[in-house]
Amino acid sequence: MPTVHFTDAQGAVRDVQGNAGDSVMETAVRNGVPGIVAECGGSLSCATCHVFVREDCVSQLPPMEDMEDEMLYGTAVDREDNSRLSCQLRLTDDIELFVTTPETQV
């Protein structure tokens, strides 16, 4: 089963089991992981699902498209090289992802 480890800005960790095919954002929201707001429900319109992906996980993820790249310039906490919008990250079988949520999303 895919697992996502969410670390918040204070360092608290929450491990959440997800389903293959779901996005990291959906996995977070359904389980009420604080730190992911996701106002637009995954339609790449709000940039409130920003996460920092642990460096060694980045390569497991699909490359980002232009729209995601542009949206990332508008996140509440400035983007870093390992920034992604979690609604664009789909879980695959047995993937294990480590992400950190920013201090704030709005």
Partner: protein, 441 residues
């Protein structure tokens, strides 16, 4: 989290009568704003019992995809669910589905009992109305034929989806956001789609002239047949007696034109669900009238989201100016303010409204409210299919409509939120990123 009052109220004897002990908060309407209210209250440490009640048979879900991804079948219904059942159980929120509240008895202290059409009663200590809005009906001949549909909730979307398979021609009545989103989706699904708009331009007053014109051209170029200044006179069924006698077959226009249609989708706006508020004697005027803290005129009931008519939340707006917004962003932000109110904190609702609408490959993002603008600046990058309109009032930016231009949208949204400006003259050059010319005053 602290202890919660029992789900089922116990009884106490008052004189000869048995009255339920009124406990907790009853949220009527289990959608975007009701869900956010419950979630925010728990995040704030509110430890009284919460009943989140709605008339729909589904677990609370997000509506925006209904006219887009869900209709097109690119997203499954499970992805639209806001929270897992486990979440509600863990957070002690009692979810009640399929109960429609028809009447409320309320005391001066804010407590009372809500009566459902099934006969069930829901006592409460505090009440929240998050009952949203319903589709405005088009009352013309043939309006009750099968296949004449509206799109407000999941059942509507399922009914529409079920008919798409057998349809070749669709007529969409109303060139607003929902009409255009659904029209684009249905066109993408291979149907012939005609959009009838009563007014002289698309999307009413929600966007400016230039954006409306951009969408008109873009949709026509993508294959939608859009007819402005046109209205339907009646819907007709097949002449021949037989199975489809009760199904819509055509739309007859005021000028006599007949358009074949096996589906007619009506999207001509919504009406706020103020029935309960009226019955309670609350002030109502195009929505439940609330103050900056989301409190209705009785000072105890909160009303949130599409149903609320509230002071304009944009900082610096005209005193006394009121507005009713229909958007996810508003439902969320307004619910947060209501949650503060219910926990005794006074946090005024202030913020920059924003909205999105996906239509075919056009991603519209709107930041701020454009009413009262005196100048616009157009940023149009033909080659990359980007288009933005910035709105100004007395030299200050107040809003922007951005199509496939998230950088512009984000720059304007952030500038507005921080009270900064983007000087109009400097914004005219499309090669300049707006972020780089944002000024402190």
């Amino acid at each position: 989290m602290g202890t919660h009052a029992a789900a089922q109220p116990t009884s106490v004897t008052a004189g000869a009568q048995t009255l339920p002990t009124r406990t907790g908060l009853l949220i009527i309407g289990a959608s975007q704003s009701g869900v956010q209210l419950a979630v925010s209250l728990r995040a704030l440490g509110f430890d009284e019992h919460i009943t989140l009640l709605g008339d729909e048979d589904h677990r609370p879900y997000q509506r925006p995809a209904l006219s887009k991804e869900f209709l097109q079948g690119t997203v499954e219904s499970e992805s639209l669910i806001f929270r897992s059942n486990e979440y509600w159980a863990e957070h002690n929120v009692e979810l009640v589905k399929g109960e429609y509240i028809v009447r409320i008895d309320k005391e001066a202290d804010g407590s009372g009992v809500a009566h459902a059409s099934s006969g069930r009663e829901f006592p409460f200590k505090r009440l929240a109305l998050t009952v949203g809005a319903r589709a405005r009906k088009l009352d013309i001949d043939g309006g009750d034929l099968d296949g004449v549909l509206y799109l407000r909730n999941a059942d509507d979307a399922l009914a529409l989806k079920a008919r798409v398979g057998n349809a070749t021609d669709v007529v969409v009545i109303g060139g607003g956001f929902i009409g255009l989103e659904a029209a684009s989706s249905l066109h993408k699904m291979g149907r012939n789609v005609t959009v009838l708009e009563f007014g002289p331009r698309l999307v009413g007053r929600a966007v400016g002239e230039e954006t409306a014109e951009y969408f008109l051209q873009a949709h026509r170029a993508r294959g939608l047949d859009i007819r402005l200044n046109t209205s339907a006179a009646r819907f007709t069924a097949n002449d021949a007696a037989g199975e489809n006698q009760n199904s819509v077959a055509a739309v007859e226009l005021q000028d006599g034109t007949v358009l074949p249609a096996q589906i007619v989708l009506i999207g001509i706006g919504v009406i706020p669900n103020t029935q309960l508020a009226e019955q309670l004697g609350l002030a109502v005027d195009n929505g439940v009238v609330v103050d900056r803290f989301a409190l209705a005129s009785d000072g105890t009931t909160v009303a949130v989201g599409d149903v609320a008519n509230m002071p304009n939340p944009v900082p610096g707006s005209e005193p006394g100016e009121r507005i009713r917004l229909e958007s996810v962003n508003n439902a969320i932000e307004h619910a947060k303010v209501a949650a503060y109110s219910l926990t005794g904190r006074r946090e005024e609702y202030a913020g920059i409204p924003w909205f999105w609408s996906n239509q075919a490959d056009l991603k519209l993002q709107i930041a701020g409210l454009c009413n009262g603008y005196d100048r616009t600046v157009l940023r149009r990058d033909e080659e990359r299919g980007k288009f933005s309109v910035l709105y100004y009032r007395q030299g200050r930016i107040i809003a922007a409509d951005c199509v496939n231009a998230p950088l512009d949208f984000m720059a304007v949204k952030n500038a507005l939120a921080k009270g900064r400006n983007i000087p109009a003259d400097a914004a005219e050059d499309t090669a300049t990123p707006l972020k780089t010319i944002t000024t402190d005053s």
